[in-house]
């Protein structure tokens, strides 16, 4: 019924609209940038389907598009705010706490829909697939929130699109960073970067000392998470390289504890790396900070202390 595909089409239409706005203002690079990204959403399922049927040119064309995005990103320009602080303060005083309602609609409607949608069906067909419920709910909640915001502010609906597009252009290519990083993760996995790192780590540690193995596992998780920007990508590599053969099989570590604490050790690395762009770089742009690494600077002491605590916890809990 409500397929994730429709959400991607909505997203594609929204990006195409942003491209059109830029085209109208003769900002060619930005227009081309959002148009290419929009293609990934409008034709994503078609590209996937073609790939499954061994037709490779659509995916290759998309790959060319991604490389073009890298070149276009360099020439993008920033947007200026469309309103003065005085204007905003006046309308803040006029609308008061009513302004919070649409902002809170996004999170609360998302959760309500996540809980409700999987139980709803129409004529015996489930309304959404359980695995897609979160993303479909988030998209629906965004649409509902935009409508509530238009109703609350009594603004014309087109202004919501114009202001949204202004924010998107302010974010610029940084908005795309999480997606290209995940793409890189896929490329690294396919080219054997993970296996090479695990081989190097495995070659330098004394395998008979269980504490040395544990520390190597923990630091490997942190290091590899920092390189990939994602603990999920690091986990299978370090488990296959050190965790399973050395810690679990050779030294008898408890698998549940090792898995859980090992993953969380990787999260300490996520706090330390610009590669985890959606957590560490995107907010610096959202919050208009001058220092690209301001968020990492704010959280590295927490990450390092927690890393030490985590290694101690592992040493105490894993070998029982």
């Amino acid at each position: 019924m409500l397929h994730l595909e429709y959400v991607y089409w909505l997203m594609g239409a929204w990006l195409a609209l942003c491209a059109l706005y830029n085209l109208r203002e003769r900002r060619w690079a930005m227009a081309a940038f959002w148009a290419v990204v929009g293609c990934a959403f409008l034709f994503g399922d078609a590209i996937k389907a073609a790939g499954a049927a061994h037709t490779r040119w659509p995916a290759q064309l998309m790959g060319l598009g991604v490389i073009a995005l890298g070149l276009l990103a360099v020439s993008g320009t920033m947007q200026m705010p469309s309103s003065t602080e005085g204007e905003r303060r006046d309308s803040a005083a006029r609308l008061g706490n009513r302004l919070f309602l649409p902002a809170l609609t996004i999170p609360f409607a998302t959760v309500a829909l996540v809980l409700a949608l999987p139980h709803l069906s129409w004529r015996g067909v489930a309304l959404v697939e359980a695995s897609q419920a979160t993303l479909v709910s988030l998209a629906l909640a965004c649409v509902i929130a935009a409508l509530v915001a238009v109703y609350t502010t009594r603004a014309p609906a087109t202004q919501a699109l114009a202001e949204g597009r202004r924010l998107l252009d302010t974010l610029g290519c940084v908005a795309l960073l999480p997606m290209v990083l995940a793409t890189l993760g896929g490329v690294f996995a396919a080219t054997g970067v993970g296996d090479a790192v695990a081989a190097i780590v495995g070659a330098v540690i004394p395998v008979d000392n269980r504490l040395a193995c544990l520390v190597a596992f923990a630091l490997g998780m942190v290091l590899f998470t920092m390189i990939m920007g994602n603990a999920f990508a690091a986990f299978p590599v370090m488990m296959a390289g050190i965790g399973l053969p050395l810690l679990v099989h050779r030294h008898g570590a408890a698998p549940a504890v090792l898995g859980s604490l090992g993953m969380l050790t990787g999260y300490c690395g996520t706090l330390l790396t610009p590669m985890a762009a959606n957590f560490n770089i995107v907010p610096t742009v959202l919050l208009e900070l001058r220092d690209q690494y301001a968020v990492i600077r704010a959280q590295w002491p927490t990450a390092l202390v927690l890393l030490v605590v985590n290694v101690i916890l592992m040493a105490m809990l894993v070998f029982r």
């Binding site: 995916a59 803040a92 896929g186 690294f188 993953m263 927690l306």
Partner: protein, 235 residues
Amino acid sequence: MNYWPLIGVAVVIAGFALKRNPVLVVIAAGVASGLAAGMGVGDLLALIGDSFVSNRALLLFVLTLPAIGLLERYGLRERAQAWIASFRKLSLARLLIAYLGARQLLSMLGMIDLAGHAQTVRPLVAPMSEAAAQNDGIVLDDAARERVRALAAATDNVGRFFGEDVFLAFGAVLLIQGFYARNGIQLDPLSIALWALPTAIAAFVIHAVRIWWVQRSLERAHMKASGSEVTDAAP
């Protein structure tokens, strides 16, 4: 073992260190790693295109922008600041520690997307933090403002990361269970999730102490600044 694909890692590190455009750096790293692995151009393009499309869910947060953009045009951030300023006793540390705890608890219950940098930090938590810092008598010059905003974002990250792993159906727990299952070790997801609790508690304590510490250092910097004003005024 072919070690040449590691050149992609070197490209990433060098690119980020030199502060080149991050999107260009990442794409260049992918191309370098693929060519070093001996892939043909056709295979590499298909791999990049397919991987890009497979990860498109990561851009969906952009759908929040029309609602947030419109609300900001009508003064959402100014309103959040005015609202928090009306609680005279709410200090920066209390606000952010309360947010940290709430974020962890909600994540543990699976409500991970209830908050986030686009959903809550930019429109609500960051402006509230600035107002709370001013409640404490901290004068926000550019450097102090930047520090407070970054701390708000960092608090959201810590709260999210060290809450979500306690949630049963979260991807990480299922990933761990799936990895072991493929290697012949059957585990109950609950037994994995519960072992995330000690780290969750440690993360709360450590980051709460750090929030309090940052507030102290901002207050001290302010006292020093106002102290020097007095000495400047004296003959």
